[in-house]
């Protein structure tokens, strides 16, 4: 009990770092990914090709390699990134590739007739997207996005390998000091589980809310 109390501040700080990184990555990755996804769907030929290459490349390289590459390579190009920023940048780039693919899949699942009908009643491209396509795409988008989000929370543990003290690193330090492996790995596991469980739950709620079908 004393052990837990003494380690509480470190675990708490690690948890906050994990949450902060995850939120930052999900926000940046989703925005960037939405743009990329629209490129994949409606871009001009070169834009589509560029987005496709980006998505397929980023999805074929391990997150850890991206983190290492960005953390160690940028200083050589004259840009010093703190480990945490490097981690956020790397994971955001990765997240964007997944979100783009998720968005493309969600929009493709909407029957063509919807878009044709919207065009038929005279809506502009923007109006079609905003009032017809995207609202309907939200329901299939959300579950896949939630899966991506869970992956991102899990991947955020990899930033501990460039010395960010996140929940995983904090746990590792505490286990090293107290040698109470079972207890503290279990605490970390439960915390990760709770974050991801709540995320999935929120995703399901939203999915139900936006399911117009």
């Amino acid at each position: 009990m004393e052990l837990i109390l003494a380690s509480l501040p470190l675990i708490g700080r690690g948890l906050l770092v994990t949450l902060g990184i995850s939120v930052a990555v999900l926000v940046a990755g989703t925005l960037l990914g939405a743009g990329l996804g629209l490129c994949l769907l409606y871009g001009t030929r070169p834009a589509r090709l560029a987005a496709r290459i980006y998505v397929d490349t980023l999805r074929g390289i391990p997150q850890l390699v991206l983190i290492f590459a960005i953390f160690y390579a940028f200083p050589l190009l004259g840009m010093r990134l703190s480990p945490i920023v490097a981690g956020i940048v790397a994971l955001s780039l990765f997240c964007a590739a997944h979100v783009a693919e998720v968005l493309r899949g969600a929009v493709s699942s909407i029957p063509r007739g919807q878009s044709d009908a919207a065009q038929g009643i005279g809506l502009t491209f923007r109006q079609r997207l905003r009032f017809v396509i995207l609202p309907q795409a939200l329901a299939p988008f959300l579950p896949a996005w939630t899966n991506t989000a869970v992956e991102i929370v899990k991947s955020s543990s990899l930033v501990s390998l460039v010395s960010v003290v996140d929940l995983t690193m904090a746990t590792q330090q505490i286990v090293g000091r107290t040698r109470e492996a079972l207890l503290f790995y279990a605490v970390a596991a439960v915390l990760y589980f709770i974050i991801n469980f709540l995320l999935s739950l929120a995703g399901q709620r939203l999915e139900k809310r936006f399911n117009h079908a």
């Binding site: 390699v65 160690y72 543990s157």
Partner: protein, 223 residues
């Protein structure tokens, strides 16, 4: 302007190639062990027994929501502290990855089992096969074919996940990159090459899987 120098990378290319081979081998082994776990858990999940269902579901949901790195640390650093020093770093990682993979494979196989048309099983029962024979000759082969695409995707994910093994100094591809960097500091060149190697390997796997899928495809015969 940054001056590229590829020499250090290609002088140490054997390190990277060996790393790639080790990564693929580890992923394959983890897939095999994980498939064993996954099959067992999948049959638990579709079984009628509540307790079995619950245990399998807890395993799947638990593992899928926890970072792989934490599982690796638990196996490699945690188990010895609990008095279980059975594994070196490579086997610790294989074990961790197999347990991790098992959770995903459970869902893959469950979807496969549930995708087997009921009529097939009923027909097999009707011609007098025992339950075990039905599983062996009807459910499993059909399940395997339905599950093959997801199985392939899982393998690609596992291969990418082997990069995390560098955290406990398993000499796979990413660790090879780290070692070359420590000695030569040609970071950009190394990661460009390593990234390309991961990419090429993933595409090679995906390509061969597409061939396998065509070979084992079900066609429309049994609809």
């Amino acid at each position: 302007m940054y001056q590229f120098n590829w020499r250090p990378v290609f002088d140490n290319f054997d390190l990277l190639l060996k790393g790639l081979a080790l990564g693929l081998g580890i992923a394959l082994l983890a897939l095999a062990i994980g498939s064993g776990i996954g099959l067992l858990a999948a049959f638990c999940r579709v079984s009628g027994m509540r307790s079995l269902k619950f245990v399998a579901a807890a395993y799947v949901e638990g593992v899928r929501n926890i970072p792989l790195l934490l599982i690796i640390y638990f196996v490699y650093f945690g188990l010895p502290l609990l008095g279980l020093s059975l594994f070196d770093n490579v086997w610790s990682f294989i074990l961790a990855l197999a347990v991790y993979a098992g959770a995903y494979l459970t869902e893959v196989f469950r979807a496969g089992i549930e995708g087997v048309p009921k009529g097939q099983v009923e027909a097999a029962r009707a011609i007098g096969l025992t339950r075990l024979q039905v599983v062996r000759h009807v459910t499993l082969p059909l399940m395997f074919r339905i599950a093959l695409p997801s199985l392939g995707n899982t393998f690609i994910s596992l291969f990418k996940d082997t990069s995390v093994a560098s955290a406990i100094a398993v000499p796979e591809l990413t660790y090879g990159a780290i070692r070359i960097n420590v000695n030569t500091w040609r970071v950009i060149e190394v990661y460009l090459v390593v990234g390309a190697m991961y990419l090429a390997a993933c595409y090679a796997i995906a390509g061969s899987l597409r061939v396998a899928e065509r070979r084992f495809s079900l066609g429309q015969r049994w609809n």
